[in-house]
Subunit: 373 residues, 2 copies
């Protein structure tokens, strides 16, 4: 699709596959993070879904995955098409500036004109065609020198997402919907979110960034010169098997942990270099079990069930059951309940409390019961 679209022949997708998803414990674990789960009942993992969404845009050879060493095997099982040069293994997690910045630095050395787009491995997107059309515009904006992001048109006053305040329209060839980002807004309270929805001019921040690799790295250097230098030192050694290991040993420990939102996106917005393309497709970062319930139930009010061979017996109950243990699960008279049943850990909470699941993970860490994390 979209062959001949501006810049698309130089486009490479980067999938940072990191983050455990603590608010999805006990389903998501250190050794089975969120992106390795099927959270929608589609039959494929979020990682695989991300791959299949991107592959028609750039081909399998141009998708890079950045993940932890521990997940290499699982990732390769999910993505048999993934080629060795396109898998970047992190020695230890160092947040998104490193994951995306290192990919940018490596790809820039392979192709100085590369345009990269980073797309989280653990988000859910409804309409893949609409997604790709939006990315095509973002690539055009990137080709014009902008750092581009994709903002999702809100369909409800969500309080779980950050927002983007849209600024002036841009006149970019191949990106008719592009506008400047005026500013980023932190997750709002309900009242503010309702105002955003009513006023218009606000989009959900989906954390997707598309830019020429050199533009992205220059923007990073403006704010974090040492980090950019460190990433270049790694990238210079990366494609030489004799040099990569020593470089990782030398550089990785000192890499700064910072989200790309702070190191690149916000400074770029402040400098008038951040473009946004509004996307009109369903999107969710699947932050907690309430999101999963909503995704699966599609607005129906009954009980959502996730898990192969789930054996659930429910009487006058609503919410979500995630079944991984194979046991009989019986619910009687529980409303908006969240039950996550795994072989070694059980969680019972409510949709309203789903965001607080992280507190359990923190308590388990404190008490040393890390075997179930």
């Amino acid at each position: 699709m979209a062959n001949g679209a501006r810049g698309l022949d130089r486009f490479r997708a980067v999938i940072p596959a990191g983050g455990i998803g603590s608010r999805l414990w006990p389903l998501s674990r250190a050794d089975a993070p969120k992106f390795l789960h099927d959270l929608t009942g589609s039959g494929e993992t979020l990682l695989r879904g991300t791959w299949e969404r991107l592959e028609p845009l750039c081909g399998a050879d141009r998708i890079m995955v950045v993940t932890g060493r521990a997940h290499r095997d699982a990732v390769e099982r999910q993505l048999p098409e993934l080629t060795d040069p396109n898998i970047v293994l992190e020695a230890e997690p160092r947040d998104s500036s490193v994951a995306i910045g290192l990919a940018a630095a490596i790809l820039r050395r392979r192709d100085p004109e590369a345009i990269i787009g980073s797309f989280a491995a653990d988000h859910v997107i409804g309409d893949a065609d609409a997604f790709r059309s939006t990315v095509v515009q973002a690539v055009a904006a990137a080709d014009a020198g902008y750092i581009a992001t994709i903002g999702i048109r809100p369909t409800e006053p969500a309080v779980g997402f950050g927002y983007i305040r849209v600024g002036d329209a841009l006149a970019v060839e191949g990106a008719p919907d592009a506008a400047l980002v005026e500013r980023f807004v932190e997750k709002p309270d309900r009242e503010t979110a309702e105002r955003y929805l009513a006023e218009g001019g606000y989009l959900w921040n989906a954390g997707m960034f598309i830019a020429r690799a050199d533009v992205l790295l220059d923007q990073l250097a403006a704010d974090r010169p040492q980090l950019r230098a460190d990433l270049e030192e790694l990238a210079e050694a990366w494609d030489d098997p004799a040099l990569r290991g020593p470089a990782v040993d030398r550089v990785w420990p000192r890499l700064e942990k910072v989200a790309i939102d702070y190191s690149v996106a916000e400074p770029a917005a402040a400098a008038g270099r951040l473009a946004v393309i509004p996307g009109s497709f369903a999107w969710d970062d699947v932050g907690d079990f309430a999101s999963i319930a909503k995704l699966i139930s599609q607005g129906r009010t009954d009980l959502a069930i996730l898990g192969e061979n789930a054996r659930v017996l429910a009487d006058a109950s609503t919410g979500i059951v995630v079944s991984q243990s194979g046991r009989i699960i019986s619910l009687v008279g529980v409303k908006d309940i969240v039950v996550v049943d795994t072989p070694d850990a059980l969680l019972v909470t409510t949709s309203a409390d789903a965001q607080r699941v992280k507190s359990v993970v923190d308590a388990l860490k404190l008490s040393g019961r890390t075997e179930v994390l």
Copy 2:
């Protein structure tokens, strides 16, 4: 204790140990019925607790247990003092008239003057001394020719128990508190229960019956002559190893299933032959998980936890967790919750819905998933 009390030298205790306790599924099962569980965290099963309450009254040699063949080993493990003549194995469950009536018929043949008292294997009693003092009075009333029952003085407007309406006081030597039972009342609604509590003159029906064996059997014969004849046919053969088996094969299939409340207690009350001794001790038939939560929490509003080695992590949650699986159980923001976690089945309900658990058992039966029942 109470040696020399009227009739006590002829007193024999009968413990019917039957009934699965469907409303306590998935804790109680066909192969692990309620009486084989520790439901109070005391460290001993309800059956063992019942035995230890009765043993000081009549000695280990005079306690008979009536149970199913499948439970023989488990019962003997719980009660190593139980002697062989004192274990009556039912070919199949035939309700309480058979369980208690057969014990009465067997014991009458061994001692024509026997006074028997039947006490369920799966109730919880708070003050064993007060219980025994009450039984001593009931035995005296039985010696005077009454069928005696023990009624518990209500401490709250319970809707889960039947009630006894107390009639005229009796003048029985050794049973100063004895009165006639005016009538039995089915489980009331809340308003009626509150009126009973305010008016006084009502006791909880604890289903304990104390009578001379011959008096009890004669009362049964008045209402159910065939059943009494069947039980005598069994009893006549019982103590002869060559005759017992054939008699069971011959008679058991035709035994009528009827609760002793209907075959003996109500007719006796109507005939002015049923005495009641009020008991002022804590008592519960532990009918559902809400009862267990109340028993364990002793009125505190936090989370009750039952189960050896339970590993529960709770945040802003109340109710009860029964842990049998050894798994980590995490609760976040769930109130009055009931979580019962066993190796092959999980139940999540609320205190208010605890009575409805039987519906799950019925549904499992209907769907053929009897392996977890």
